[in-house]
Every structure is written in structure tokens, then in C-alpha cells.
Symmetry: none
Subunit: 233 residues, 2 copies
């Protein structure tokens, strides 16, 4: 489930250092030592981000970036020695998304990786949704505003409640076991059986249902989970 990053540099020490840094952050890291190896690994694995040195034997950084772009549209961060001419580097890194000078601050590299991954994966998310509003009966969820409207009135939901509603509104009619809701909202497995999700569901009902005791939207499916009832228009 966790994201996979490809680190490419002819200096093995640097690749190793990057791997250690990013693995500590919870990413899976693949290693390559020239452009050709990098391309091979990319075809064989599902990679979400590439970190690459501009100066490399076999296949240099620029060519490698171009070749990657032909196939995939993943974020690419380019590394380079600071001494070299900035303009030249920027030319060389055409098609990359970001540029980090060596020596770099480990925390900074990690932050940039995180930032690009978030933008890349969230953009994918928006694309999948296609719209900025999800309407269902009395309810209407604005994805960008992160606000749920009931009968046109904004509902005051908390952050956790908003995430649950976003999940359910994006998948109206689909039943989610409480366990799945937990894992997708909290983004971590719930090993202890809790009624945490249940309590949140109740709180949401209190805010969106006309009669929370007999919900018409946020319904329970006995023995399975919860769902957002799909309404006719």
C-alpha cells in the first residue's frame, strides 16, 4: 500500500543515504545506478516518484527524464551539485518537477518528496471525481470547499466527520464495513475492534438527518457496514 520511490545516482553512497532517509519516512525505495537501470526498474514496478542525479553515466539525467516522461507522468526530482551553473542545470532538468542542490538537507528532500506525492496523488483523486460537487437528495458535498450542505445550508462537520462524508458521498449506495471506513479515513489499520467509527456515524447523523433515530441517508446495513443511501433526483 505504501508509496514506492526510485532513487537514481551513480554514487552508491548517495543512493543508500536517500534510501535510508525515505524508508524511515515509510516509503518503499528502489535503487538504480544509471539511467538504463532506472528505466528497467520503472517498467517492472509501480513507482510513484523518481529522484535522479543529472550527471550520470550510460544515460544522462536529461535523456532519462525525457524517456520517463514518454511513458509515465510521475513526479521527478532532480539532484545536482551546487557548483554547476544554475541555468545549465535547469536546462538539463527540463521536464523535471523539482530541483534540489547537493549537498541537501535531508529533511528538505523528505519534505519535497512528501509535497510532490501529495499533489500528484490528490490531483489523481480530483480527476477521478471529475466534478467539484457531489449531490445526493438533500445533501450536496463541495469537494474543494470540504463542506457538506443539507437543504442548501452548510453543515458544521469536524475534520474526521468531513473525511467520512467525503468517502461516502463519493461512493453513494456502496456499503463500507466500519473497518474499511476506519482504514480509509485514518489511513492506518485498526487492529483493535472499536466502536470509534460508530460514534462518528452517530454524530454525523445528528447533524444531517431530520430524524437521527431513523436515518434516511446514513444507513446501516446489518452485519456489514454503513452506506450513503442513493436518492433519486
Amino acid at each position: 500500500m505504501n508509496e514506492c520511490i526510485l532513487a537514481v545516482d551513480d554514487d552508491r553512497e548517495i543512493v543508500k543515504a536517500i534510501a535510508i532517509l525515505l524508508e524511515k519516512e515509510g516509503y518503499r525505495v528502489l535503487k538504480a545506478y544509471d539511467g538504463m537501470q532506472a528505466l528497467d526498474l520503472l517498467t517492472q514496478n509501480s513507482v510513484q516518484l523518481v529522484i535522479m542525479d543529472v550527471m550520470m553515466p550510460k544515460l544522462d539525467g536529461l535523456s532519462a527524464v525525457m524517456r520517463i516522461r514518454e511513458k509515465q507522468n510521475i513526479p521527478i526530482i532532480v539532484l545536482s551539485a551546487k557548483s554547476e551553473d544554475t541555468d545549465k542545470i535547469l536546462g538539463l532538468s527540463m521536464g523535471a518537477d523539482d530541483y534540489v542542490a547537493k549537498p541537501y538537507h535531508p529533511a528538505e528532500l523528505a519534505a519535497r518528496v512528501k509535497s510532490h506525492l501529495r499533489r500528484y496523488t490528490s490531483l489523481g483523486d480530483i480527476h477521478a471525481a471529475g466534478q467539484d460537487k457531489l449531490t445526493n437528495g438533500r445533501l450536496c458535498y463541495h469537494i474543494a470547499e470540504k463542506i457538506l450542505y443539507a437543504d442548501g445550508e452548510a453543515v458544521r462537520l469536524t475534520a474526521t466527520e468531513t473525511k467520512i462524508i467525503e468517502l461516502l458521498m463519493k461512493n453513494p449506495g456502496r456499503v463500507f464495513p466500519a473497518e474499511e471506513i476506519y482504514e480509509r479515513v485514518w489511513e492506518e489499520p485498526n487492529f483493535v475492534s472499536e466502536n470509534t467509527v460508530m460514534v462518528h456515524i452517530r454524530r454525523i447523523r445528528e447533524k444531517i438527518e431530520l430524524n437521527p433515530k431513523e436515518p434516511e441517508y446514513l444507513k446501516v446495513v446489518w452485519g456489514i457496514g454503513y452506506k450513503m443511501e442513493k436518492k433519486e433526483r
Copy 2:
């Protein structure tokens, strides 16, 4: 029938890369390697959009932008190295419609080109029409002047505050996590957890809100971020 774009940069590799990218998207691309060449091509051809580096020999980006504006009102996207001083770039790109930092994601450049062309061709001359003001309730932000007015009175905002306001006024109603505000205003990842953004938000509230303790414009969305409340007209 298909639209024509002029790419200008003294680095031929970059112009070539831009051309390949945009031709793949179905545009016709003219190439120039300095400001003078660019102006020549503009008089001889029907061009719908210009992509230009700020730093160029012969005729620099700023001057070129000005000269183009004298004659035609087409969209101009300015390129620049991220390392260069942000304020200086802002000055240089005065009169441009958009600004993209190098290195950039090809898909991003393509998307911006598409978006500017759509606006330009569909609405005709949007510049003349004057979408240079963003009004929301008591507030009105002039994009070109970079000044915020509250009840018609200019508000004395600092540079950082202005950037935050511009981001929020351009996206009324949308919620931005503090982290995203940081990244989009400072243009670098915030790898140390700080409450910097929060303090700036408070200072802006002090200047624009009637009662800063209970903001009616610059609102917090608990656990998620901040937003500019969208007001009715």
C-alpha cells in the same frame, strides 16, 4: 485552425522541449531565441499565446512583455528559475498573465496553456473586460495593483500578507491546509512544523475583519485549514 504558440528562450534545448510538448497537444509552435526575434515573429504571424523566459539576451523578458502588450492583448506566460529572487520576478513579470517556475512539470505547463487559451478565445479579450478585480463582500482585491480594498479603503498589507490574500481571494470558499498555504506562498516545502502561517492569518484578520476574534471572511475550518468565506452579492 489549430492555435499558434510562440516559445521564447535563449536556451534552444528548452524551446525544443516546449515545442515537442505542445505539438503533442496539437498546437502549432513558433520558436524564438531572444526578445527581438520574438517581436518580429509576432508581427508576421497570428499568434494566440506566448511563453517566455524572463532572463534573455538582446531584449529581456520584461521589456519584451511590455512591447507585446503595446500591440496585442494575447496571454503571456513567463518562465523563470525558482532560485531567483521572487519579488524581482514578480516585478519582471508585471503585465504577464501567469508565471511558471523552472523546473516545471510538463503537464502543468500544458494545462496552463490550455486554460489561458480557453479563457482568451472563449471570452474574447478578457484583459480589456477587466477580470483584474476580485470582489467578495466588503473585500476587493486588485490583482495588477496587488492591493486589497475593504469597504473601498485600501488595506495596508505587507508583502507576505498580500500573497496569502491573493491566493485566498482567487479561490473563495476553498479550504487550504496551513501547509499548502505555506508551500504556495513561500514556494518551498515547510519541513519544520511551524505556526508561521497561523500568525500571518491573525495579522491579516486584525486588518480586514470588523471583529478579528470572530472573523467573517478569513475563517478557520477546524482540523483542515483556512478559507476565504464566499459572500453573496
